[in-house]
Symmetry: C2
Subunit: 414 residues, 2 copies
Amino acid sequence: MNAEIIVVGSELLTPHRMDTNSLYLTEQLNLLGVEVVFKSIVGDNLPRLVAAAEHALFRSEIVIFSGGLGPTEDDLTREAVAEALGVGLRRDPEILRSLEERFAARGWKMAANNAKQADVLEGATVLANPNGTAPGQWISGEFEGREHIIVMLPGPPHELKALFETEVRERLRAKVPPAFLATRTLKIAMLGESAVDARVAPIYTRYKDVETTILAGAGEIELHFKSRAANQEAAQQRVDEVADLVEDELDDAVYSRDGQSLEQIVGYWLQMRGATVAVAESCTGGLLAERITSVSGSSRYFVGGAVVYSNALKTEFAGVPAEMIERHGAVSREVAAALAEGIRYRCESTLGVGITGVAGPGGGTPEKPVGLVFHAVASDRGTEVAQRNFPGDRKRIRRFASTMALDMLRKKLM
Amino acid sequence: MNAEIIVVGSELLTPHRMDTNSLYLTEQLNLLGVEVVFKSIVGDNLPRLVAAAEHALFRSEIVIFSGGLGPTEDDLTREAVAEALGVGLRRDPEILRSLEERFAARGWKMAANNAKQADVLEGATVLANPNGTAPGQWISGEFEGREHIIVMLPGPPHELKALFETEVRERLRAKVPPAFLATRTLKIAMLGESAVDARVAPIYTRYKDVETTILAGAGEIELHFKSRAANQEAAQQRVDEVADLVEDELDDAVYSRDGQSLEQIVGYWLQMRGATVAVAESCTGGLLAERITSVSGSSRYFVGGAVVYSNALKTEFAGVPAEMIERHGAVSREVAAALAEGIRYRCESTLGVGITGVAGPGGGTPEKPVGLVFHAVASDRGTEVAQRNFPGDRKRIRRFASTMALDMLRKKLM
């Protein structure tokens, strides 16, 4: 069965706002074996909404609406779907009562416009919304000679997700043919997209029944595998087979096989080894510390660090000798190593990380161009330094450099 | 005139990828006075593409396609639009020659499938693409009794943007009624969305000819004003008038009136005052330093800082007395002030910032719950401390806290 998603709201037709609900809904539908074949974004305009609903009902068996269920006169999804289906709306006294109670519980009197949230399409099932005032609605039945499922969900993402999980997923599963769909994701650090593809395309192209998607960021690549088969075991076997072969090919460049982030993996290994880490960053300006501490519980292995933007602070906080900076320059292999060793010593951590480079856009020279970064990891077995020339703008270079440092930490701990 | 955007590509119907071209196109069209009334995302499927093109031609005067112009058999936009319009395709010998030259220049032989990129719709103008192999196309003329403009652009964002700027914008401007559209943006820190709206709605609702949009993030709010009038001066006057009244109402909570970020504004004021800043962060884990240094040129006013996750480092790097931490706890007004004062002293900066709090999800207690954060700014005139209880998850609390600290800095410098 095919689905389409209609996202309702004039604010989503401005340059400022982007629909993200449809990504969540697509993921959920795919897991049920349902493909999404159309997405539309329509403003709060009754004739346009009715036309969009009619086209969708003509083309697709499952139509999911996101948004337009609130109390204002711009919330028109209920009216539009009723008109497209040729059914009436009735005001549900039970919903009305629960709306009034909701307001009364807060000591407010309900404004009259809220009552329209109690309007239910003939034949629809009401989907209770624990996180907001607007309930969802579900209608299934024959329309123009074909079986259809129409679902209306509120637009706020946390309301939509909670409603999908509690009220929609199992209802859909009962209606769609059983789908045996398996997925696997591999995450790869510090290899280029074309380099990865050149190495793994000979593998995944042999698996015609496995769909492979490559997504690339600054220094990180995700490989998504998806397969459908006659039963769950067969589908799982196919994605596992291709993922295992790809992992063998890419070896330790693969850092995650179950969706975890590089920050989480580094935290996992630090805890496994009973190790702690401290960082001294120059060009990344705190980004590495920020990424490490974005993981909850990171205080168990992250001691702290220093953002040593000025040369004086490289000496003050990480003990880098001023004459070393004088001789080799702040952006140098020697200073990176000294930052890593110095911060490790000062913070009494198992590992120390140092980063120094030119994030740009200014500050580059012919010898030390924008994008040049030195990364160092110090341990009791010595200090490793890696030099890279990253492409892109300031933001991308900083992201690359912090990913490189995290990946060096990971490899040191593995 | 109304426009709609059709984004072509099966990868944009997966959970992994999101169309962003339509935001750029919407912004550009709005500036020409054209509203976008529909967006659709369609896969690489000829019947579905033809249907989408037909619906669009029926509904809207301007239809812009993004993607589906490449050389593979999945690239079907040309064929679909030709079928929807009922016109033929001819292979253009000039494009073919330039494709062959492009490949020859790299020492490659052109694969046969590339030739389809030379297929041009009858009556179409070819839009040369300096950044890629697939040219764009422009057709204007009567269709079903109404004047239409159809534009086909390649999907890669840098190709689409370059083509729009060089080949499409002026062609569109010549066709659409002259639009005199003015916009203004105000950015506001550390006020709630509903609090802002309650104060400014009485102002902006009086301006029926000014469209107001409120966007809210963690601790930051943007107010966008847009107006259209008989001439540019009149339109500008209307948005300026409402923006000025709103700014008077919100007073110094408005930090930017020309699109600059809070980080940029803080950098601007630091430079204006010839001041420098250093930071000592606990729960924000480097985020504040990262945000300050995301601005290029920030080394002129940002000295550096310390991420003092452990209590020992609060003493080591910022000189917070161990007995103070013992007595008041690491998350306290006293420690925040000592962090700000200590880091200012150690870094010899004009201003020092200290942040300590509970980012969660763990670590909260009844007295010091998740979301409790103390922020301090130290200067030669003393130390100011602010306490807040932020809602949301770890990421949101850290974002709030760093925004609060930036806003305290801004107010101190103004």
